[in-house]
Amino acid sequence: MNETRRRRRGNAVFWAGALLIAAFVAIAVIGPMVFSSSANGIDPLNARKSPSLSNSFGTDGFGRDILARVITATRLTLLLTFGASIISFAAGTFIGVVVRLLGPRLQGAILQVNAVAVAFPALILALVVAAILGPGSTSAMVAVGIAGIPMYIRLTSTLAAQVVNEDFVRIAELQRVPRVVVAIRHVLPNVAIPLSVAAANSTAFTLVELSSLSFLGLGVQAPEYDYGRLLNEGLAEMSSQPWGVFGPSIGMVALGLGILLFGDGLAAMVDPKMSAPQGAITRFIEKVKSGTRTSTRSTAEPEPAVAVENLSIGTISEAGDRHTLVNGVSLHIAPQEILGIVGESGSGKSLTAMSIAGLAPNGLWRTASGMRIRETDMLNRPAPSVLARTVSLIYQDPMSTFSPSLRLESQLGDVFREHMGWDRDRIHRELLEALTSLSTPNPERVLSQFPHQLSGGLLQRCLIAQALLLDPELLIADEPTTALDVSVQADVLRKIYRFRAESGASILLISHDLGVVEELCDRVLVMYRGEFVEELTPAQIRTRNVQHPYTQRLLDATLYLEAAREGGDR
């Protein structure tokens, strides 16, 4: 969704940050050349003067111009901040990657020790290192740099752990590529991007930490000065020389802000999920009702349970250009009928199904001239409790369908609690019964567990059991077996079959797998580029009696896969 939009926003933030940083770098390069004489030339008898035309921020205890000093201090501030960050980053990343290449024993020990180091407050660590090295700019930089290392070790080794387990690293290791080469060639490039995002954020922290050290008297010492030391000097004389505090504060906040924005922008560009979606989406209008509402339903046929007429779905750009994803489709499902929709991903089949359930993603427009499930007019914004009992859904990835932090019973029960007014006992009893009726072993245990403790097949079965209790008019199953092991696929399909037998609801099955559809469905619609191109019976699929070339290609692909699978088994 809207990824480009977010990236663009990420870009704007990124460039704002980059521009700010660039401005500071420019000041750092040019400032000392221009201002060093007024910043460093002492004139003690002209000390602590109020702001004037020649000294717009006033003068300090040596009679030096505060503004010139703030500008000149930029160089050392940048050098120390980036220096410390580079120390943390370089050493931390290096150790982090190397650790991953060590044997498991040593690796575990080092990471444990590192975990302690990470937990230790960085400022205290820096304080100690600064005390050992003696106060001064270099030792402050080294101290803050060292204090930041454990964090990078942890981050790098965690990221590297994910990469090390990936195939290309495994293959490289099988080929006896030396570990160091693996680290440099394969591991580093793959952890580089998330690391740089973290680096940007921690650099802002480094800036503040360096100045805190200066504040405690262990940081930069005269005659050198950075923002932190200027601030510290300023605080003592704040009442008479407020600009001694304001000047470096402004510099520090602006620089910190620049670095933070840079990091946020970088994060948004790399991972759109990490950036907050902004305003643009509001301009997408969801038009539930639109177009002519003339009924095109033929009265001759038996009353279908589900009737959708002329459903179109699409996106709209910021400029107002519409792009159609689903183009005027219509479908009917009889009671107890299982209708399949097949098509490749992006053909619009899930969009169609979700729109029928009233759950289309945000930011899309929809129009339809009619959409009805039994007595419920889906275009007329039905009440949530009606919707909950009209349509049930089964999703593709059972593992992510449930909240990881709640027990199954609690999650499955909410819909009954909220829309059917059942109490806890009844929910428990009914769910047990439903699970038992789907011949689930040890249903009591299933209900008391967390999603990660159960298999995908069991989770899907839970949703089916829930649907049994809700007794909906329509069950939408969106690729219910795709994420499952082959061994349990058949079982889940059987349960859906059983559901149909027991409930009398209509079923809409979405799949890209013709094999599944052929086994389960009474009727199949083939979707291609947002339109239904062909309607088939299971028999037609079995006998490969199809018209449209796209359907033909789908069938070929299935055969090829089946052959491959069978070949692989042997």
């Binding site: 040596f62 003696g134 005269a222 004389e237």
Partner: protein, 512 residues
């Protein structure tokens, strides 16, 4: 403006009101004066005092035999009369002095206390300033007379006995030295206050003794009454101190000398003096008197005063302020400030030197920075070692002579004498058990110093001191800068005139 910040603001406001509401404003208890130590006193044993806060605390708890009055003259404290020469003398005690537990402070008590202080086992760092280098014996001649004898000549005994470190510790304290040190022996005190409670880092409460009646004349003449109680919290940040005095949560506290405009009511206290000392060891460039002179010409006491103390301190022309006995006040004896000339003549151009300084002078060590700035402006190649006070002390006062060439020295002049400074450049060097850090080859000066130690007549002594000051100022063994001062801000209704401008909380008075 925006929901998040207004919400945050309102939460903070509610919290603030809730917590503020349950206690009301700052407690104003007119019987208690709230002051602040910059660090925890390290010991309540006067013999063991090290930092200035130890000194301030012990001054309240222990009375000395002698003391300075507000004119800088030595007057009686626990003593009524005294008669000293270079090898010791006798002290007549005043009547009526008692310890906290009522024990009379007689000659035996005093002798025992002085012997304990001077004993090598006590390891007091201050002993050398009170009694000189030799062995000390104090004995009770009769119940009112103490006799002190010194094995090496030392003419500054009267000034030495004004020093808080020599304060009289009552028998109860001598029996429990650990308790004395931690302040847990309530009967150890001989001064006007007792230590009512000591909570490290948090609060120290001193209570005025009901039965105390030994106020020196100049103190009892002060307006107002002494506070029933003084409570000391701990904090070293002068900006916070200033804020607290303004905000009403402190009554007396040290503030930055650059931050006095906000306070109508301030007291200036002299701590010691600051000067440049040259290390004249074999490898030092400063064996050369011309180089020392060039350095002196490029440093200005006025500028140093302006930078370090916003001009509130006193420029000195010797190792003591103008109020000190025998101190030189003749500006002509110090080199004239002429940085342009030194730069023009290139006198210090390319001279390599190790300049070691502590970062404790002026806001953020700005005093040390001034000296560095002038030296480098004059073209010297300065290896600038700016360190904290502990590192500086172990470097400059350690046995390793060649580790530095020039330093900015700041004394805590507890005896308020020239001798405290003079003994840093005369006599035995540190590595031989003395105090001298300059290692100068100055037989003439040594001769004069020796003479001073043997002279007890005040006028004669001052004449010799003047010769000595002329000697070391001409040789430029030191470059005097300013007095070390501290500025105390006072709340309304608090009066504080430090006697002789020396720190003494017993002179704090509350206006009625």
């Amino acid at each position: 403006m925006n929901a998040s910040s207004t919400r945050l603001a309102s939460v903070i406001a509610v919290l603030t009101l809730a917590l503020a509401g349950c206690v009301g404003g700052p407690a104003t208890d007119s019987d208690t004066v709230r002051a602040r130590f910059s660090a925890d006193p390290q010991s309540f044993d006067p013999a063991k005092l090290v930092g200035s806060d130890d000194y301030y605390a012990s001054r309240m708890l222990f009375d000395t035999l002698l003391r300075y009055d507000d004119d800088g003259d030595i007057v009686g404290g626990l003593a009524e009369d005294w008669d000293f020469d270079a090898s010791g003398g006798t002290v007549e005690l005043a009547d009526g002095a008692t310890c906290t537990d009522g024990t009379a402070i007689d000659a035996a008590v005093v002798a025992e206390s002085l012997n304990r202080f001077a004993s090598p086992d006590t390891q007091s760092g201050s002993k050398i300033l009170v009694f000189g280098n030799g062995d000390v014996t104090a004995s009770a001649k009769d119940s009112n007379t103490v006799e002190i004898s010194l094995s090496e000549p030392f003419s500054e005994l009267d000034a030495g006995l004004t020093m808080v470190a020599s304060g009289i510790v009552c028998p109860a304290g001598l029996e429990d030295l650990d308790g004395l040190s931690s302040g847990s022996v309530p009967d150890a005190f001989s001064g006007p206050f007792t230590l009512a409670s000591a909570t490290s880092g948090v609060e120290y409460v001193m209570e005025l003794r009901d039965d105390y009646d030994m106020w020196p004349d100049f103190v009892s003449r002060l307006d107002g009454r002494p506070p029933e109680r003084m409570s000391f919290s701990v904090g070293s940040d002068v900006a916070t101190n200033a804020n607290e005095v303004l905000g009403g949560s402190l009554d007396v506290a040290g503030v930055s000398p650059t931050d006095t405009e906000r306070f109508p009511n301030v007291a200036l206290v002299y701590i010691g003096e600051q000067y440049i000392v040259f290390n004249q060891h074999d490898a030092s460039p400063f064996q050369d008197e011309d180089l020392r002179r060039a350095v002196a010409r490029t440093l200005s006491g006025e500028a140093y005063n302006e930078v370090t103390y916003a001009g509130r301190s006193e420029v000195e022309y010797t190792m003591g302020d103008s109020g000190m006995q025998c101190a030189n006040t003749d500006e002509g004896l110090v080199e004239e400030y002429d940085r342009e000339a030194v730069q023009a003549e290139g006198l210090l151009e390319g001279v390599e030197m190790v300049y070691s300084a502590s970062n404790s002078f002026g806001p953020n060590g700005i005093g040390a920075e001034y000296v560095y700035q002038e030296l480098s402006d004059a073209g010297a190649h300065v290896d600038y070692q700016i360190v904290d006070n502990s590192t500086w002390a172990s470097l400059v006062l350690g046995p390793d002579a060649p580790s530095w060439d020039i330093t900015l020295f700041g004394t805590v002049n507890q005896t308020n004498t020239l001798w405290t400074g003079v003994s840093r450049i005369m006599g035995a060097p540190i590595e031989d058990g003395g105090r001298s850090m300059s290692r100068a080859d100055n037989p003439e000066g040594e001769q004069l110093a020796d003479e001073i130690m043997r002279t007890t007549d005040q006028d004669e002594k001052c004449a010799t001191y003047q010769e000595l000051q002329q000697n070391f100022l001409e040789r430029v063994d030191v470059v005097p800068l300013t007095a070390s001062v501290e500025v105390f801000a006072l709340a309304d209704g608090i009066q504080y005139e430090p006697p002789n401008s020396r720190m003494d909380y017993t002179a704090v008075r509350v206006a009625d």
